[in-house]
């Protein structure tokens, strides 16, 4: 359709002035013609000229024809669908009727978009340039056809962050429609501090906040590690919605064993109570714990009734049980070394009296306590890390059967040191006892204790490298330090060393070490080690070498990590799907790092399935590393084993936890209030899922129209003076006038 418009640039008063002047000119012209022609002819010629002037004046107005065409556009629209795990929770706060499973929040969204003869998703596709995206921890475009198969699988909901990312997407868009339960557990959990959204957001809320029934364990605070035999505490918060008046049990388990339980009475509709639980671990290692509340009748979410965590139980101190055959200077200075070391806790029994010693007072006037044989060997042994038998013979005090307990203690990972003296080794009868197979030396049954002066300790090649006998870091200075130590005056004789000899004296083994099962053993074939301390002081030397030797022996026996040849580095907490770097350090028998070792790295999944992980030597000598990607949440055990030239260098174990940081199931209450706030702040609208229908679509369209029309009007302008016809008409009129003038004899 074309319309005529006057679009000339001249002001109307100028055109009016021209018109007046033209009229004056015509009147003048008519008078002149009237003198030469009759009235009729004069009038005809004047009218013809008036027509020409009229056309010219008309063109002064700038007449133009404008042609308008209206085109309707398809607006770009982004539809976000929350596919986080919380969308699998029931949409309805009331339990489902009959045997039917309740519809999940995502089921409801799917139904609302795809059900009916003309599904709303199709209408949206038709009316809008639709981009369909699912979101949880990231934005994933999907096809409309994949909606029926969409799963609530994302481990978290970064609702606020992803809305902002979608709104700022470079692709043109007029609005965002988001289907969600409003749970936001990313870095931003509210709109506080959120930058204004550039497009309106129509938030469609799913799930019922009213009548929501759930009890959950949240805010679990547990230590990463605890010390053995020391109580540790965990803090947790129990929250409950819609369960007022109920009492629920809370169970605290280690593995499958119940540690303690507690009843919690819920006295409010929106209930929250902090609970502290305590446990005293007795065994070293990493232990899995859990706190749980059984699923309650009518409860909508049961995943959040349970929390797992692990605690690494470490020794706060190395606990040493020392049995000394009698008071002696060796015990005195050993005790001094142990007591000065804050890492060591010493429990000692010194046998002050033998069965043949008589006393001249009633027993009540003696400070002697009966040696608690059964308590020590049957009950308490597991609570010690090391046993020292210091010039001690069991024969006068207890049945050798108890030594089988000591053997088992070492086999299971404990440490045993036997210090010599007349009661040590064979004179203690150990050659015929259960410890025969445990000790690092083979006994000859003779029980010879040689006494002579000048027994100077000398390092063996193994002793030169071993951390027990490394008194000073520099190897040469270390040898020199050993050479300068005071000589000994007595030694036990043994047949041979089964383990490694670190020191000799007078050509005979003086200090030997070995392994038995998971444990370690040490034999020091003298009761004169105290001389390395006190006689050295008398020689104006340091007593520190003796103290250091004893402390290093303790640490090696206790398998302190710094004395291990295979050492796994601590592994950081990770999330499923993220690569975890597993690093370890491998040392040779002489405790120098090696890159030649064969390293086997195994990761055990939470289900216990072993997975072999390739480990390669790193840039630093002795460093090895492997990578593993956990696929699900849980505690993964790591075992590393290294060998060199076929000989095992040792093992180490560690563990790490893979867990999502979001806590998707922690609080499953829909946060419709957050959706409302988002809609409001973006000038959009909140729409409850039950109101999502054709009318809602119309409202959205109307709202978008009010912001910006969806039609585009094209107009085409044709200026008449740029047309041939006006000039043709004027030329025709002037030609007719010329012809008449000629006919009537004016020309």
């Amino acid at each position: 359709m074309q319309d005529l418009y006057l679009i000339g640039p001249l002001p109307w008063w100028l055109i009016a002035l021209v018109a007046v002047l033209t009229a004056v000119l015509l009147i003048q012209q008519f008078r002149a013609l009237r003198q030469r022609l009759p009235l009729g002819q004069s009038a005809i010629l004047t009218v013809l000229r008036a027509c020409v002037y009229a056309v010219l004046i008309f063109f002064l107005f700038g007449p133009a024809l404008i042609d308008r065409r209206t085109t309707k556009l398809r607006r770009p629209l982004t539809v976000l669908i929350d596919s986080s795990q919380s969308m699998a929770f029931p949409a309805d706060s009331q339990p489902a009727r009959g045997d039917k499973d309740p519809l999940s929040r995502l089921d409801v969204v799917r139904e609302k978009l795809t059900a009916g003869p003309e599904p709303l998703i199709e209408k949206l596709s038709r009316d809008y340039d639709l981009r369909l995206i699912r979101f949880g921890t990231s934005l994933e475009p999907i096809a409309a056809g994949s909606l029926p198969g969409l799963q609530a699988q994302d481990p978290g909901t970064r609702l606020v962050e992803l809305l902002q990312a979608a709104a700022r997407d470079r692709a043109a868009q007029s609005a965002i429609v988001v289907f969600s339960d409003g749970i936001a557990n990313g870095a931003q959990t509210s709109i506080e501090g959120m930058a204004p959204l550039p497009v309106p957001v129509f938030a469609v809320g799913v799930g019922e906040a009213q009548g929501f029934t759930d009890v959950r364990i949240t805010k679990l605070g547990a230590p990463d590690f605890a010390f053995r035999s020391r109580e540790f505490k965990i803090d947790l918060t129990i929250q409950a919605s819609g369960m007022k008046g109920k009492t629920v049990p809370l169970f605290f388990n280690r593995g499958r064993n119940l540690i303690t339980s507690r009843s919690v009475t819920i006295d409010d509709d929106l209930f929250e109570q902090k609970v502290t639980l305590a446990f005293t671990p007795k065994e070293l290692g990493t232990h899995g714990f859990s706190v749980s509340i059984p699923a309650q009748v009518g409860e909508q979410i049961t995943q959040n009734n349970h929390k797992d965590f692990k605690v690494e139980v470490r020794r706060d101190k190395i606990r040493i049980l020392t049995l000394s055959g009698s008071p002696a200077w060796n015990y005195r200075f050993l005790r001094m070394a142990m007591k000065q070391d804050p890492l060591i806790e010493l429990v000692s029994f010194v046998f002050l009296r033998t069965p043949t010693d008589s006393v001249d007072v009633p027993e009540t006037q003696l400070s002697l306590i009966p040696f608690p044989i059964d308590d020590i060997f049957l009950e308490e042994l597991k609570n010690f890390d090391l046993i020292f038998l210091d010039d001690f013979s069991h024969r006068a005090y207890f049945n050798p059967v108890y030594l089988e307990r000591v053997r088992d203690f070492v086999r299971d990972g404990g440490g045993l040191a036997m210090f010599g003296g007349p009661r040590g080794f064979d004179s203690g009868g150990y050659g015929e006892s259960a410890l025969r197979e445990v000790l690092p030396v083979e006994l000859d049954g003779k029980g010879v204790f040689e006494m002579r002066d000048g027994l100077q300790a000398a390092l063996t090649p193994a002793g030169k490298a071993h951390p027990i006998t490394r008194l000073v870091p520099d190897p040469k200075a270390n040898e020199e330090a050993w050479r300068k130590l005071p000589a000994l005056t007595g030694m036990n004789q043994v047949r041979r060393v089964r383990g490694e000899t670190l020191l000799t004296a007078g050509g005979a083994p003086l200090l030997a070490i070995g392994r038995h099962g998971k444990g370690r053993t040490l034999a020091l074939m003298t009761d004169d080690a105290w001389r390395w301390n006190f006689i050295a002081v008398g020689n104006k030397q340091t007593p520190q070498h003796h103290l250091k030797l004893m402390r290093q022996a303790v640490r090696w026996l206790a398998q302190e990590p710094s004395f291990e040849q295979v050492q796994l580095q601590p592994i950081a907490l990770s999330q499923p799907g993220e690569k975890v770097a597993i690093k370890l350090r491998v040392l040779k028998d002489d405790f120098t790092p090696t890159r030649e070792a064969s390293v086997q790295l195994r990761v055990f999944t939470p289900e216990g399935e072993p997975i072999l992980v390739a480990a390669a030597a790193g840039t630093e000598e002795g460093e090895y590393a492997g990578e593993f990607t956990p696929t699900r949440e849980g505690t993964y055990r790591v075992e590393a084993e290294a060998s060199l030239s076929g000989k095992s260098l040792g093992k180490d174990r560690s563990s790490f936890t893979a867990a999502y940081f979001f806590g998707e199931a922690d609080d499953g209450r829909p946060r419709l209030d957050l959706l409302k706030q988002i809609a409001e702040s973006s000038k959009g609208e909140y729409i409850a899922i039950e109101d999502w229908n054709d009318k809602a679509l119309e409202r959205i369209a109307a709202r978008l129209d009010s912001i910006a029309p969806s039609e585009i009007v094209e107009q085409r302008q044709t200026r008449l003076w740029s047309n041939l016809w006006p000039f043709a008409i004027m030329l025709a009129l002037l030609s007719i006038e010329w012809w008449m003038r000629r006919k009537w004899g004016l020309i």
Binding site: S326, A328, S348, V361, G421, G538, P543
Partner: protein, 256 residues
């Protein structure tokens, strides 16, 4: 059997009972036996370092009879400048009279000895506080540990519980019912008795007590032997009896 052992056995056979060991063999170190303890007595210049020359052997016999310690029957006599002084972590300093000051080297040696694990029992054979031996001891110990003074041992001190649960301090004459000590760090390497312990321990060659104990008689002498044994075991086990495992047991016995 040497002359000394013969006399000892004879004496025991004649007197029997009392503080003498019932089983003579048990009190004697065996031939070529590893001895854990030697009683070293300090010889000094001036005064009288040896008021009771026969005091140590009865104590050693008692020690071996009552406890599991294998000890040298004879004392070792040492000066503070002896090269082998540190072979004997237990020193005994006694006398009646004021003695000459130690040399600076001897003071330094004694300081190192006592600071790094050695123990010294001081026994005033005169029993006159502020005079004679006591005066010299206080003077010399002031030089050894200028910052540390003698202080009275509390009744629950580990030295009084290391073997016997002692409630009384024995000796020839009860000059003081308590002991004094010097604390260095966490230990007490010097203990001082004013009651002439050596006099109470001493027998002559025929086995008779050379000094009567007054006013407590033989019970007081027995207390002196008990204290001697306790102090030796304290030196060899330090505060072992203060370990947590012993405390409730000892407390129960003391409250009976």
């Amino acid at each position: 059997m040497d002359r000394r052992n013969f006399i000892r056995l004879l004496t025991q056979g004649l007197l029997g009972g009392g503080l003498l060991p019932g089983i003579a063999e048990a009190a004697q170190p065996k031939e070529n036996q590893r001895l854990q303890f030697a009683f070293a007595q300090i010889k000094y210049r001036g005064g009288d370092w040896n008021p009771h020359p026969l005091a140590v052997t009865p104590l050693m016999q008692e020690l071996m009879t009552r406890t599991s310690v294998e000890a040298a029957a004879q004392r070792h006599e040492a000066t503070l400048s002896d090269r082998d002084l540190f072979n004997y972590p237990f020193l005994y300093l006694t006398g009646k009279y004021e003695f000459d000051p130690f040399t600076p080297d001897e003071i330094e040696t004694l300081r190192r000895f006592l600071s790094y694990g050695g123990f010294m029992l001081i026994d005033d054979a005169l029993g006159q506080q502020g005079y004679g031996f006591d005066k010299a001891v206080r003077r010399e110990m002031q030089r050894v540990f200028p910052q540390n003074e003698f202080r009275r041992l509390p009744s629950g001190h580990a030295a009084l519980r290391s073997y016997y649960l002692l409630r009384r301090i024995g000796g020839v004459r009860i000059v003081s019912p308590t002991l004094d000590g010097i604390t260095v760090g966490n230990s007490m390497p010097v203990i001082y008795c004013h009651n002439n312990l050596g006099g109470a321990w001493e027998r002559d060659q025929t086995g008779r007590w050379t000094n009567a104990c007054t006013p407590g008689g033989e019970a007081q002498r027995r207390d002196a032997f008990h204290l001697g044994i306790n102090l030796i075991l304290y030196a060899m086990t330090e505060n072992y009896k203060e370990d947590l495992i012993h405390v409730p047991f000892i407390r129960r016995r003391l409250t009976r």
